[in-house]
Amino acid sequence: MTAVAVVGGSLAGLRTAEQLRASGHTGPITVYGEELHPPYNRPPLSKEVLADAQRATSAEMLDRLAFRRRSSTADVDFRLGTRVESADLSARTITLASGAVETWDGLVAATGLRPRRLRVEGPTQGRHILRTIDHCLTLRADLDRPRDVVVVGAGFIGCETACTLLKLGHRVTVVEPTGAPMNRVLGPALAEAVQAHHEDAGIRFVIGPGVTRFTGDQRVTGVQLDTGERLLADIVVESVGSVCNTEWLGGIAALDLSDGILTDNDLRVTGTDDVVAVGDIARFPNPLFDDVPRRVEHWNIPTETAKRAAATLVAGLQGRPPALPPFAPVPAFWSDQLDLRFQSFGSPGLADTVETVEGDLGDLTGGVLTRYTRDGRLVGSVAVNLSAARQRELRDEFVVMAPVG
């Protein structure tokens, strides 16, 4: 009987285990997760859970966020708190942090991302990141009184965190060197409208300068900018992007680990025939757009890639080609910030032309739809405060045009 090792115990690892069973794999499945917690839902960590006035404990948080286990995965062996150090693709083994060596017939890379840290000098106390339950608990414990918070990085996580902390009564400044908040995805016009909206609510944005150091002795007291300005801060939240957890595959010449793990359209890792990659680290071509492999850090991608990767791996283990239609998932994300809900389909960041086709950028609350095209073809849409009843129509615009070529 063939055995599958899933390295990574978050959403992508869990969904792949489920889909391996759904695809007919009856052999053993072992999921190795570095975190001690079973797979749980991360998006609420920057929103509802951070805002939770009940001050839930770690166990209560987990009770609320943990994914329900499907009965088909009752016999999946979850080895939590277990870090995988390395893999040998010819011997078909992985080596755990304990030194133990485990064998596999099929391997799933689901190790995801970790937050990038700012490499600047200064005290470490009062500096936070936000990706795990433990990060969220640590940050919340530091918010015991009204604080001066500086959020470094105005991507989606940074903006969601800033909005939640403002609602909790803290003074919040967001520093971003590259332009208006979330501009890489939203485009400058919508990003500037969001900035104005958030500024009206009381968030200060400092756009342009970089951070040179944190001031203070034991604890952060301020953020020094390269313009000479110093921002008062006793809490800093760093949300400056992510790093792919691919070190455990380092040194394997056949692999392209230049940005995540390069795979083909079936999620098979390039240079292997019994290894697949899923979730945030999988860099795969999506014929919805073109043949360029890209990683997609959206919440729906672990679930989508798990399905295809499981089918690919099971077919391989059974010695047959996967013989599936092109894999063309529609990327989708949402974000809740103050009184705004963003819902996006496609990949707006690929656009060469951005047009707001409904609503008024001066009144985001009233509902705005922005469309993103490249070479005249739709590549993305972002709805702000439109009824959820519109979503099917917005998503189906992508479904009907897939696949190309």
Binding site: R15, F67, R70, A388, Q391, R392
Partner: protein, 62 residues
């Protein structure tokens, strides 16, 4: 099959209505309505809906 949506968690994201349109729908007010006893043939779609729910509010019973 029995389907329950925890309405204390539901935030009307509407992803379920894309995955299983015969079971879940967003009404004209933008609020979720659903069939609590769909036919068995909807199981795959309902499982998909439960998977894609951003707040994981959908529970599938027997």
């Amino acid at each position: 099959m029995k389907v329950t949506v925890d309405m204390t968690l539901c935030e009307d994201h509407g992803q379920c209505a894309i995955a299983a349109p015969n079971v879940f729908r967003i009404n004209d007010d933008g609020k979720l309505e659903y069939d609590a006893n769909p036919e068995e043939r909807e199981l795959t779609n309902v499982e998909e809906a439960a998977d894609v729910c951003p707040v994981q509010a959908i529970l599938i019973g027997d």
